[in-house]
Amino acid sequence: MINLPVLVFYSFASLLVLSSAMVIISRNPVRGALFLVLAFFASSVLWMLLEAEFLALALIFVYVGAVMTLFLFVVMMLDLDLVPSREGFVRYLPFGILVMVLFVAVMIVVVTPEHFKLGSLGAVPAHPEGYSNVKEIGEILYTQYFYPFELASILLLTAIIAAITLTFRGRQHSRSQRIDKQLAANKADRMYLVDPKESQ
């Protein structure tokens, strides 16, 4: 007897691990970005299994629909020449391995199963009918976590303004159209009729 949720979990969990690995391994950056999309998709299915449908769908339309689209946009525009980046691979290999070992060691020490409280959580509790994931999140977000939530939004606003100021190079070089002037234009401003007989 096959348990359907278990089957879905294992297939999408392995898909998630595989596609995450491919993000790092694949040589073509566009292919890497597309595998990242697949990874987001697989993890959204896992969230769906936990009955967190709001988070799962938000992951898809925020990350897959908007963030990764822009990401792909940038990656596709870059004309990356991959050959120079692969030069000196052997020379830097010992250093790379050292860094990797250090990182993995730190991760093993810091991120232990106790941090996820896997043992104490147990199975996911079954929700009663009519349970709304969206309402629960909304209630927690706007009561208990109200200040962190608002702070995060201010932080994002600051980042938007910073990004705009970094790329804004002033008006003097760009010839942009003034919409109000265009709309205010009328026939008398743009055109005058000449009688050919009089001008002769």
Partner: protein, 341 residues
Amino acid sequence: MLEQLISLAWIIAKILIIVLPLLGVVAYLTMAERKVIAYMQYRVGVNRVGIRGIGQPIADAMKLIFKEIIIPKASNRYLFILAPILAMTPALVAWSVVPFDDGWVLANVNAGVLFIFAMTSIGIYGIICAGWGSNSKYAFFSAMRVAAQMVSYEIAMGFALVGVLIAAGSMNFTDIVHAQSGSVLHWYWLPLLPLFVVYWVSGLAETNRAPFDVAEGESEIVAGFHVEYSGMTFAMFFLAEYANMILISSLAVLMFLGGWLSPFQGIPLLESTFNWVPGIVWFAAKASLFLYLYLWIRATFPRYRYDQIMRLGWKVLIPVTLVWIFVVALAVQFHLPPWFA
């Protein structure tokens, strides 16, 4: 085990009941488009195959099926094949949460609106992958245009949907339709009129239809992202575009025109006279109205310039939605009669 198999068979049967008529509607929508635009331009339009051209979509489909699929040598093979599938799948999957009548829905999920929004935002990958995978400059330009345009208009559309969610207090389409019952004046087109207009304009932009069809701009980039595609692979993009048009129209009906509800509701004599009409007829009639609007707009307006598209999306539509969401929130909070009492 047997019960599971039977329920699976039921689901597949329901999917077929939705998808097969949908493909039929897509086929005849293409013909309707050619006919409607023809009459608007004082032409006759298709009239060769069958009686008054009625067999034209079938002839077109046969031609596309038997045409050779050419894969350009310089293209990225996998993405080139994958792209039409990526465009087609979300356009069909989204229909799983659309209720055609009271209870006539494949998956009556709570987060239906979110699901639709997620699916329509995935559809863009088909176009981007096609544009990049073709390894052709015209296709690539088109993919870039589409990516920027769809991301911009998704925001306006999302905010328009947020207004509907606030008004209905639910993300389930069946509940949203029930919240509009009463009469024609109870439908959300009236209290959410600015959002309705914004939704429709951004729906045009999301499906890359005229006047926002810069993705295909024949005079500039030949045919855009699908310039390298032929035969069935091209037909897939075509199907996806039309299925998306029907989807956007159906969503407009569900969220702003009361879904399957009768337009004569609340009118003393007419309501009882038209009681026998099944809800799906009203649903189809209202959706056809929007589909006709698509064609009418295409025959009427010239193509927008790209910077004007961006300006309209960011500087006009988004501020309008933000203001009106605020108004709707106040109206709901203070139970403004007759809609939110």
